[in-house]
C-alpha cells in the first residue's frame, strides 16, 4: 500500500516535471543521510518557568521540556492524531470508561530507574489526587483539564495499567499525549520534592545537563534512549525577551533557531539564503467576543452585521503580514472535523448597514471594546482592535476602546454574567491543547461553559449547539463525531457570536543547515529526528 502510494507520488512528480519542461537536477541534499553532531541554540521568548511537565502552562516552558520526556501516547508528526508513545498499544472498553494501556518494556528513566505501570500510576495520581504523598511537589495547571474525569488508576501488572473514568469523555485519548502524561521518574520526585522543577528526569531522547537561571537550559543527547537516538548532540534554550534582540542574535550567530518573528522582518528573512523559514498554521484562533446578553448584540442580525463590517482580510494582510491566515470558523483548519462549508462574512459594509437597519439600528450604536495590551496568543491586539474600531465606525458602530494589562484583562473581562461586564466587544484568542474539536467548541461556545466554568465569555447559548457539543464529547466513534462537530460549526457561524479574525501561523526561522525540522500544531519543538548538515 505504502509502496503504491510512493510509486504514485514519483509518477506524479515526474509528470509535473515533464509538464514544466524539464527534469530537476539531483540535489545532493536530498541524497544525504542524517549526520550526527552539532548544537541547536534556540532563542525563546521567555525563561522556562519549570522543567517539570505537569506543571507547565506556557509555550516557552513546553519547548524547553518536550525533548527530555515521552508521553504515554504521542501526537503524530504534523497532526493531532495519536500514535504509540510509552504505551505501545491500548484498548478502550465498549462503554468508553476503561482505558487499558500496554507499556513499552525495557524503558529506563535518565536516572536509571525503570519505567513501569507503578510509575504511570504515581505520575497521574501525583497530579489529581490531593491526598497523594507527593501532590504537594508542584502546582498542576492542567490536572483538572486532563485527569478531571479519571476515577482511578490501577496497576494490572508491571507493564499494564488500567485507567477508569467517571464518565465517558471522547477527547480523553488525546489527553494521554499531552504534557501532563509525560512520565517523570518517581524516584527523582521523591528525591527532589518541589525542586523536581529544576531537576528534570524523564525518558526522552535528550537528558538534562544544566539550567543557569536567566541564561540557558542545556540538554544533551541521551545515548541510552529506547528509540532511535537523536542526531544533534546538544540543545540549548536561551531566553531572549525582546523580539528585535532575538532577531539580531540570530543574524549575529548567537542562536541558530528562533521563534516569534516580528511580522515586518519576515519577508527579509525568507529571502535570506542563510536561513530557512518553517511555517505551520497552529491551533490558534483570534476573535472578538460579542456580549450576546446585551442589547443590541442579542440580535443575530446585529452580530452578523458586525462580522460583515470588519475587513478581516485587510488585518491579516496589512497588520499580520503572513503571520496569520484568515479565520472563517472558530476552529483552526488543522483540527480534524474542520469544515469550510460555513456561512461566510466577507467584508461587505453595505450588507452590514442593511442588516443594522433591519434590526432597527440604521444609524449604528455606541459600544465599549476591551482589548489587552499583549498576552498569550494575542498577536498585536491593540493595532488589530484599532483597525476593527475604524471599520465598525464606517457603519455607524462607534466603539470606545479600553486597553488592559493581560492579568487585569483576564480578571475583569472573563467574568460570570451576574457580574455584568462593562464590555460589549472583547478581543480574545485561544490556543488548543489536545487537538480535539471539543477543546475549541465545547469550552468556548457551549451554553454551560460561561465563566467561571469555561471561556464562553460572550454568554452565547444555542440549545441545538449545546446538545451537539454534549454528544460530541460522549461519542467515541470518530466518523460520528466528525459529523456532529461539522453540524455544530455551521450552526455556530450562522449565529455569529464572534467576529472571527485569524489563525496565527507558527513560524520558526533557523540556520539553513538544520534539516528535517517539522513544526507541530501543538507548539513544542521536536528535535529527535532533526540533524545538522556539517
Amino acid at each position: 500500500m505504502v509502496l503504491r502510494q510512493k510509486l504514485f507520488s514519483v509518477m506524479m512528480l515526474a509528470g509535473l516535471c515533464l509538464a514544466l519542461g524539464g527534469v530537476p537536477a539531483v540535489r545532493p541534499a536530498l541524497a544525504q543521510a542524517p549526520q550526527d553532531g552539532g548544537t541547536i541554540v534556540v532563542g525563546l521568548q521567555a525563561e522556562p518557568a519549570t522543567l517539570d511537565p505537569p506543571q507547565l502552562s506556557d509555550y516557552n516552558t513546553a519547548r524547553a521540556v518536550y525533548n527530555m520526556y515521552d508521553g504515554l501516547l504521542k501526537f503524530k508528526d504534523e497532526s493531532t492524531e495519536v500514535q504509540p508513545g510509552l504505551a505501545e498499544s491500548w484498548e478502550i472498553s465498549t462503554d468508553g470508561l476503561v482505558y487499558t494501556l500496554h507499556l513499552r518494556q525495557g524503558v529506563k528513566f535518565h536516572d536509571g530507574t525503570p519505567f513501569n505501570a507503578e510509575a504511570v500510576k504515581f505520575n497521574l495520581e501525583r497530579q489529581f489526587d490531593v491526598n497523594h504523598p507527593y501532590h504537594n511537589t508542584g502546582d498542576f495547571a492542567y490536572a483538572d483539564f486532563t485527569w478531571g474525569s479519571v476515577k482511578q488508576v490501577d496497576v494490572v501488572d508491571d507493564h499494564t495499567v488500567k485507567i477508569t473514568l467517571k464518565n465517558v469523555l471522547a477527547p480523553f485519548i488525546s489527553h494521554l499525549a499531552m504534557h501532563p502524561a509525560f512520565m517523570v521518574s518517581p524516584e527523582a520526585i521523591k528525591k527532589y520534592g518541589r525542586d523536581i522543577s529544576t531537576h528534570p528526569v524523564g525518558t526522552g531522547p535528550y537528558r538534562f545537563v544544566s539550567w543557569t537561571p536567566g541564561a540557558e537550559v542545556v540538554e544533551e543527547q541521551n545515548p541510552d534512549y529506547w528509540g532511535t537516538p537523536a542526531h544533534v548532540d546538544k540543545l540549548i534554550f536561551r531566553p531572549i525577551i525582546e523580539d528585535q534582540a532575538r532577531l539580531t542574535e540570530l543574524q549575529a550567530g548567537g542562536i541558530n533557531f528562533m521563534v516569534n518573528i516580528p511580522p515586518d522582518d519576515l519577508a527579509g528573512l525568507k529571502s535570506d539564503p542563510r536561513f530557512t523559514v518553517v511555517e505551520q498554521t497552529g491551533m490558534h484562533t483570534w476573535w472578538v467576543y460579542l456580549n450576546t446578553m446585551k442589547e443590541p448584540l442579542k440580535d443575530v442580525r446585529v452580530r452578523q452585521a458586525l462580522s460583515y463590517a470588519v475587513n478581516k482580510k485587510a488585518i491579516v494582510d496589512n497588520i499580520l503580514k503572513e503571520t496569520g491566515v484568515l479565520a472563517i470558523n472558530p476552529m483552526p483548519p488543522v483540527v480534524w472535523s474542520y469544515t469550510d462549508q460555513v456561512e461566510r462574512y466577507d467584508y461587505n459594509p453595505e450588507k452590514a448597514k442593511q442588516l443594522l437597519a433591519e434590526a432597527g439600528y440604521p444609524n449604528g450604536f455606541p459600544c465599549v471594546f476591551w482589548t489587552p495590551e499583549s498576552g498569550s496568543g494575542m498577536q498585536m491586539p491593540v493595532l488589530m482592535s484599532t483597525a476593527i474600531q475604524a471599520d465598525l465606525k464606517l457603519v455607524g458602530v462607534d466603539c470606545q476602546i479600553k486597553t488592559f494589562e493581560w492579568g487585569a484583562f483576564l480578571e475583569q473581562g472573563v467574568v460570570p454574567p451576574d457580574k455584568k461586564p462593562e464590555w460589549d466587544l472583547m478581543a480574545f484568542s485561544w490556543i488548543g491543547d489536545n487537538g480535539d474539536p471539543d477543546n475549541h467548541l465545547y469550552i468556548l461556545l457551549s451554553g454551560d461553559q460561561w465563566p467561571p466554568n469555561g471561556f464562553n465569555c460572550g454568554y452565547y447559548k444555542n440549545d441545538q449547539v449545546d446538545e451537539l457539543l454534549r454528544q460530541g464529547r460522549t461519542t467515541l466513534d470518530r466518523a460520528k463525531r466528525t459529523e456532529i462537530y461539522q453540524q455544530a460549526q455551521k450552526l455556530i457561524v450562522q449565529d455569529a457570536p464572534w467576529i472571527l479574525v485569524d489563525h496565527e501561523t507558527q513560524i520558526v526561522v533557523m540556520d539553513q543547515h538544520i534539516k528535517n525540522f517539522k513544526l507541530h500544531p501543538t507548539g513544542p519543538f521536536r528535535f529527535a529526528d532533526v540533524w545538522i548538515e556539517q
Binding site: 519549570t50 517539570d52 506556557d58 502546582d139 492542567y142 541564561a215 549575529a252 548567537g254 466554568n453
Partner: protein, 316 residues
C-alpha cells in the same frame, strides 16, 4: 564615625519596612490574580481557588504581609509563585548580575564623564568643549532602550565583535565572557549618567578655577596640571560625588530597560516578569533588596564626602 554608620544602618529598617508595605499594598490593589495568571486560561475555577488557598492568597492582606515579613526575618523569603523556586537564592544571583552591570556602568560613566568635564572646563568655549557638550546633550537625551538596540546592531551584527544579549556564550562561560557580555548593556546604561557627570564636573570645575586661591596658585607659577589635578579637582568633586550617588538611583531604573533589551538576567528583569505574573514573593523580595542597596549606596556617598572634604565630619 562608627556610631554614625550604625545609626544610619538602623534607620534603614523603617525605610525598608515602609517600602515593602507600600509595594505590597500596590500589588494588592493592582487587578490580576496570580493563581489565575499562573494556571493560565485553561484551568477551572476550582483549581484556581485551590491554588489561591495553597499560596495563602485567600487570607486578608495584613495576614499575608505579616507572614511574609516573619519569613523574611527568619531568612525564608518564600517561593516564587511563577518560577517555582526559592526567592532568596534566585534574586541574590540576579542582584549580583545587576550589581556587576551597574558597577561597570558607573565606572564607565565616571571614567569618561569626569575627564570630559575637566577638559571642557579647562578649555572653556574651545571647539573641543563645544563638541563635548553637544555629545553630552545627545547622550543625555537618548532613550536607553533605543541606544541599546543600536549598540546591538552596530557592535553585535555589523562589526560582530561583541555579544548581543544574555550573560554567557553557551559552553564558554567565564570571567572574560561575562565581561564581554556586559560591555554593551553597561555602555547603554552609562551614557546618560556619563553626560550628567560630565556637565556637573564642568560647571563645578569652572566655579573652582575662578576662586582666589586658584589665581594665587597660578601666580605662584604652579604648572597647570598640578593646579587642576591637586587643587581644583578635589574641591570640585563634592557636587560631582552627590550626582554620582543620585545616578545610582537612575541606574536602577534604567537597568530595568537595559536588562529587558539585552535579556540580561538581573534583578530588573526579574522584577518585570514578576510584576507581570503578580508574583508577590518575587517582587517583594526584589524590591526589598533594591531598596536596601539604594539606602546603602546613599550612605556610602555621604561617607565619601567626609573623605573628599576634610571639613565634613560625622557623628562628633
Amino acid at each position: 564615625m562608627t556610631r554614625y554608620v550604625v545609626q544610619r544602618l538602623l534607620s534603614l529598617l523603617p525605610v525598608l519596612l515602609g517600602v515593602t508595605l507600600l509595594v505590597f499594598l500596590v500589588m494588592q490593589l493592582a487587578p490580576g490574580d496570580p493563581a489565575r495568571i499562573m494556571l493560565g486560561a485553561h484551568a477551572n475555577e476550582e483549581s484556581v481557588t485551590q491554588l489561591r488557598r495553597d499560596l495563602g492568597l485567600d487570607q486578608p492582606w495584613y495576614v499575608q504581609f505579616a507572614r511574609w515579613l516573619g519569613g523574611v526575618l527568619r531568612g525564608d523569603w518564600g517561593r516564587s509563585i511563577q518560577l517555582k523556586r526559592e526567592v532568596l537564592p534566585y534574586i541574590a544571583g540576579r542582584f549580583q548580575n545587576s550589581a556587576y552591570l551597574m558597577l561597570l556602568a558607573i565606572f564607565m560613566a565616571c571614567g569618561m564623564g569626569v575627564p570630559a568635564g575637566i577638559l571642557s572646563a579647562v578649555r572653556q568655549y574651545s571647539p573641543g568643549d563645544r563638541i563635548a557638550m553637544v555629545l553630552v546633550l545627545i547622550g543625555f537625551s537618548t532613550p536607553v532602550f533605543w541606544l541599546g538596540i543600536i549598540l546591538q546592531i552596530v557592535f553585535g551584527l555589523w562589526f560582530g565583535i561583541l555579544p548581543v544579549s544574555g550573560i554567557q556564550t553557551p559552553g564558554q562561560a567565564g570571567t572574560l565572557d561575562l565581561l564581554l557580555h556586559m560591555v554593551l548593556p553597561s555602555l547603554a546604561l552609562a551614557t546618560a549618567p556619563m553626560a550628567i557627570i560630565a556637565r556637573m564636573t564642568r560647571s563645578s570645575m569652572l566655579e573652582v578655577i575662578r576662586q582666589d586661591y586658584m589665581r594665587t596658585a597660578h601666580a605662584k607659577g604652579l604648572a597647570e596640571r598640578v593646579m587642576i589635578g591637586r587643587h581644583a579637582l578635589r574641591n570640585s568633586l563634592i557636587p560631582v560625588v552627590t550626582i554620582i550617588g543620585l545616578q545610582v538611583g537612575y541606574l536602577l531604573g534604567g537597568d530595568i530597560l537595559v536588562e529587558l533589551v539585552f535579556s540580561y538576567p538581573g534583578i530588573g528583569l526579574a522584577m518585570v516578569t514578576g510584576i507581570l505574573a503578580r508574583d508577590f514573593p518575587l517582587v517583594q523580595g526584589a524590591i526589598l533588596m533594591v531598596a536596601a542597596s539604594y539606602v546603602v549606596v546613599n550612605l556610602v556617598t555621604d561617607l565619601a564626602y567626609a573623605y573628599i572634604d576634610p571639613r565634613i565630619r560625622y557623628g562628633e
